[in-house]
Amino acid sequence: MKRHAVAKEGEIPQGGRKIVSVGRLELGIFNVGGEIRAYRNACPHAGAPVCLGRLSGTSLPSRVYEYIFGKEGFILRCPWHGWEFDLRTGEHVVDSRVRLKSVAVEPGKSEDLEGLPMEQSGGTLYVLLPE
C-alpha cells in the first residue's frame, strides 16, 4: 500500500467534505461527526460522482404515516438516481450489501502538502491505496 497525503488534519470541518484526486482516482474525504471517512467518488450503482451529492438526514423507518427525521449529516444522497448512503458505514440505506467503496485514511506526521492552505496546523491525513 502507498500513502497519499490528501488533507491537513482539521482542514475538513464537521459536516464538511473535500474532493481530491490521487492519480486517476477521485476520492471524497468526509468529516462525519468528527470521524474522517474516505470513499471513491463513484457510485456503486451507476458510477455517478456520488461524493458530490447532497448531505442531509433522512426519514427513519417508521409506522405508516409517521415521519421521523434522523441521521442528520450522515446521509449522502447520490446526485444521479438519489440513492442514500450512510457515510458512517458507506451502506446504501435500502440494501446494506451495497456500499460506497471505502478507502483507508489515517493521520500521520505533518509534512508539506502541496496545494493545501499553509495556515492549517497539525498533522496530515493520508489515504492508503494499492501501489
Binding site: 433522512t58 426519514s59 409506522r63 405508516v64 404515516y65 415521519y67 438516481h81 438519489g82 435500502v94 440494501d95
Partner: protein, 367 residues
Amino acid sequence: MSGRHAAPDPMPLIDADVHNAFADARTELRPFLPRLWQEFADRHGIAVPPAGYVSPVGVQREDARPPSGGIAGSDPDHMIKDHLDRYGVDYAVLTGSHILGVSTHFDPDWGSALAAAYNMNLAVRWLDRSPRFRGSIIINHSDPDAAVREIERCAADRRFVQVLMGAGSNRLFGQRFYHPIYEAASAHGLPVAIHPGTEGAGTADTPTPAGRPTRYFEWHNIVPINAMAHVNSLVCEGVFEKFPGLKFVAIECGIAWLPHLMWRMDKNYKGLRSQVPWLKRLPSEYIREHVRVTTQPTEEPANPKHLLQIFEMIGAPQMILFSSDYPHWDFDSPGIALPGVPADWKERILWLNAAELYGLSPVTSGR
C-alpha cells in the same frame, strides 16, 4: 377447438370470477331495501351509473342464456349445469352483474342500500342454492363507514369469501380514506377484491388519466391501467404494512403488466424511499405477498412461451388465480386455458391458490 365438450379435468377447479346476474333487479332487491328506498325504486327503478361503453359482441354470451329466457347468468340452476358441472368447477366465486356501480352513485346512501340488498339477495337466491357458489360482499367504497357496517353484517356468513368493490373511483385505493375497509376486511380474514367496469361511471374519474377512450374496444384494452394505479397506491401508502394479513385481488385486470410495475417501483424505491419510510421491503415483495390477479382475459402473445416468461418474471406462482368470467363474451374455458403452463404452476393457478386465499377445500364428490 371445443373446450365446451371436454371431459371434466380430474384436477380440482376454483373459478375466481363468475357473474351471477339479476333475472329482475327490482323483484330481487326490493324485499331487502328499507321502506324509503323501496319507494324510490318503485318510482325510479334500480340502476347503477353506466360506464357508457357498449360492446359489439354484447357482454353476455349468447349461448349461455338460460331456458327461462332471462339474461345469461340469471338462473342459478342453469349456471350449475351450463358451467359448474360442464367444467367440473368445485367453487364459483360470484362477482355479480350491474351492481359494482353502487360505489359511483351521486347519493352514497342509495349506493349503500343497494349494496346491502344485493348481498342479502345473493345469500338466499344463490348461496342457499349450492355450496359450490361462494359470495363476494359487495360494498360501496365511496362511503367507507357504510362499507364497514356491511362487511361486519355479512362476515359471520362464511359463504362470503371476500369483499368486492368496483375498480372505478375518484381516488386511489391505497389512500387512508379507505383504510377502515381494509381494517374490517382483515379483521375477518377476508381478501378485498376489485373488478373493472365502473371506470368512468358516475362519480368515478375517467377510465384513463389521459382522457376517455372513444369505444369499448379501446376502453377494454386499457382497463389494466386502473389496477396498476390502485396496486401502486396500496403499496406506497403502506396498506400492507398497516394490515399485514390483508390480501388484495385484482380481478380481470390482466397479469403481464406486473413485471413492469414491480421493476419500476423497486428501482424508484432505491432512490426515493425517504418519502415512504414505512415501507420496510422492496415494493415488489409486498406485491408478491399481498396481491392476487386472475387469469381471464388471458394475454395471448403470438408465441405462448412469452406469457410463461412473464410468469417467471413475476416469480410468484401463488399470485395467480384461474378465472373464466362466465358468462361474459370474453370467457376463458378451463379446458383450453393456460397452454404450456408447467404442472406445478397449473395446480396452483387452477385451485390451490384460491383454496388458500378463500379457505376452500375441493369438493371431492358430486362431479
